[in-house]
Amino acid sequence: MNEMTPMSPVRGERQGRASSVRFQNVQKSYDGEILVVKDLNLDIASGEFLTMLGPSGSGKTTALMMLAGFEPATHGEIFVNDSPINNVPPHKRGVGMVFQNYALFPHMSVAENLAFPLKVRKLGRGDIEARVARALAMVKMESFGGRRPVQLSGGQQQRIAVARALVFEPTLVLMDEPLGALDKQLREQMQYEIKHIHENLGVTVVYVTHDQTEALTMSDRIAVFNDGRIQQLSTPDRLYEKPENSFVAQFIGENNRLSGAITEVADAICTVSVDGGPTVKATKVVPGGRGTRTTLSIRPERIELAPAKGALPVVIPGRVEELIYLGDHVRVRMSVAGTDAFVVKVPNRVGRTLEPGHETTVGWDPEDCRALDEIAA
């Protein structure tokens, strides 16, 4: 977006005003028996778009609720701009929040919804009107001020919810699965819009989702949650390319898994004897030496079907079981190294030449195959 968009005046005011967040040894239990969040340590830089990604029950929403102030931390401290906020009530935290089902007040018009945070801050009437108009312009819904939330579509409600969370110019904005209720196409469009708003305003955004595509599209960094812990905190590309454990590899993107044991270690590369199958080379991530059980992880698009001789260090035989046509590419399900759930993605021009029952070979670069911790089967 260029400087002529209606957003630019807001940008001028807010440049460089963003909050940093720090979770320090935070634990949370609801019932005194089970820890929902186990020793959370997380630094969020000012102006960053950080996504907490994980399956339901992984503790990500609880972490967000503690940051918003709706749930007290059982142990540990949360800092915003280096000051502890555990004892600050939610309405004094000045944190903008977008809720899962928008939470637009049904008895107020859109403009009244947007004016609400300004009214409780006792701003002047003219000032409020100007800011509401600007917020509506920011989400391109200038003519909707008089409508009731129920008269808006899901996407429009979503825009208003975002505008409301931003209209009082918070320096930290939390979003709790805001796109969960939208259909796929609208969700993708909204992802870009939210991303652009973040880029233009420069605020810190903490975003919670269970949708990995959403996380990959929007985030500066992603914290993958599972079982109350951060499994990996990294940029989207590193998370996808270099998962550090089997959970992350499995949760983000598609992933072929082969179980085996390490037989030889040479620097970063190890040799793994796959159960009931061949011996292959892989990048060693899991700690431990010879004999360590491991799960190999390799992305379907990093596998080459019937590679030219000598082109790849790892080549093993496989049989085509099933072809699934997906338009731009074909998913080939194969029997490889004792598993029949081995998936290879091939461009559809290659896929057309294949037939089920076809005996062939698959190959990959050890760089793309990661030896991770073993998943208990």
Partner: protein
């Protein structure tokens, strides 16, 4: 599309065999509709027979009373022919003598006297005693009847009889509104010492409003607690709310009597704590206070349940959203949570108010003299004074009042917004 296709006239959509589409649809669904109607038919009959017809009868009775006109045919004919008001001449008294004799034979003279007695107290015996002697009356009747009792020469009595000669009358509504006809036949308000119904209507409205207000005050926090507590606690609480609901009304009212009477539990505790002296026992029953306390308790569930059902549908995220937007907890409650409970408040207040306005047992038992409501007087006229027409007029006014309130509520809040349980 070809040109021919465009030219086909489309006056009516038709089914494949050419019958109009609407007719075809009606035919196709007729059986289903008939079956559905047959299913609701028993209830419809029940409602008509036990509700619509009795209410219609009651409405009719409030403007129709033939206790006089049915038994005094000669006087009715005389009044129809002679327009002059006041005491008539010989002709009128002759008709009266004939009718007195006739109704004595029919043993309906008491009924006739009762009808006139509604409007002029003490006239029932006038008719019954005259009836006993009617067979011995000789012309000229005017002198003979006046000789029986001087009151027969009262022009007001004759005006009342003239009005009663028509079976259709407004006099019961007038009585119910503390109005009456004066000597010239104009409508004036009754003497101050005989105005009982209007003050009672006002008291009924005021007490019902007060009780609805108290129920709201007490019920709102309970309903909120019910809607927000975890399920296992809220279920227990719900049982506490419903327990009195399942207990007999009479039991609950009498238990209030045990608690509130001057030698009752509450007073005993106050005395034993030294808060009030033995001589200063508080009168909490057989007055307005008793009616208010007992009825508030009895009607409380009718407030809590609609409130609860509305509050249950308000997700906590609205309140949280308001907090996150910087509202203090009070502002978040008042500006965001409370407005969303208005349909429940409306339903609860309306329900409690309508129930309270027609409440009978509790005020009858604990109300004493100052805690009586209009329904107690309706019951009195139904059972004791047997003036059913007046009872019907009072009940009709009550019904009209409730319908008016309902209409008002619909205009202000909208009946669609009302949520009951």
């Amino acid at each position: 599309m070809t040109d021919a296709a465009i030219e086909i006239p489309r006056y009516q959509l038709t089914a494949a065999d050419g019958t109009p589409l609407k007719l075809a649809m009606a035919r196709a669904t007729r059986r289903a509709r008939l079956r559905a109607f047959a299913l609701v038919l028993p209830l419809l009959v029940f409602v008509v027979v036990t509700f619509a017809v009795p209410i219609g009868q009651m409405l009719y009775r409030s403007v129709h009373n033939d206790q006089f006109s049915a038994h005094m045919p000669n006087l009715v004919a005389f009044f129809a022919a002679d327009e002059t008001k006041g005491v008539p001449g010989e002709e009128g008294f002759a008709a009266l003598a004939k009718d007195l004799d006739l109704s004595r034979e029919e043993r309906s003279i008491g009924e006739v006297g009762t009808r006139i007695n509604y409007e002029i107290a003490g006239t029932r015996s006038l008719f019954t005693s005259a009836g006993r002697k009617a067979s011995k009356l000789e012309p000229p009747y005017k002198e003979a009847i006046l000789a029986l009792d001087k009151q027969w020469g009262d022009p007001e009595l004759w005006n009342v009889m003239r009005r009663a000669s028509s079976p259709h009358t407004l006099s019961f509504y007038l009585a119910a509104l503390d109005l009456q006809y004066d000597k010239s036949g104009a409508i004036v308000s009754a003497p101050e010492d005989r105005r009982i119904y209007v003050p009672l209507f006002i008291r009924t409205l005021w007490l019902s409003g007060l009780i609805a207000g108290l129920c709201l005050l007490l019920g709102f926090p309970v309903a909120h607690l019910l809607a927000t507590l975890p399920l296992r606690y809220s279920n227990l609480l719900m049982i506490f709310v419903l327990l009195p609901f399942w207990t007999s009304l009479l039991v609950r009212t009498t238990s209030w009597m045990v608690l509130l009477q001057s030698q009752g539990v509450v007073n005993d505790i106050l005395v034993s704590l030294g808060i009030v002296g033995e001589s200063g026992r508080i009168q909490m029953m057989y007055n307005e206070a008793g009616t208010i306390i007992a009825m508030t308790h009895i009607l409380l569930p009718f407030m809590i349940l609609p409130l609860y059902s509305v509050m249950k549908t308000i997700p906590p995220r609205y309140y949280r959203a308001a907090l996150s937007l910087g509202a203090t907890p009070w502002t978040a409650f008042w500006k965001v949570y409370f407005p969303q409970t208005v349909p429940g408040i409306g339903a609860g207040v309306l329900l409690v108010f309508i129930l309270a306005i027609g409440y009978y047992i509790t005020p009858a038992l604990v109300g004493g003299a100052s805690g009586q409501l209009i329904s107690n007087l309706i019951a009195f006229h139904m059972q004791k004074s047997l003036n059913w027409s007046l009872a019907a007029a009072l009940a009709t006014l009550l019904l009209a009042g409730v319908i008016l309130l309902y209409w008002l509520y619909d205009r202000l809040v909208g009946i669609d917004n009302m949520k009951l349980g």
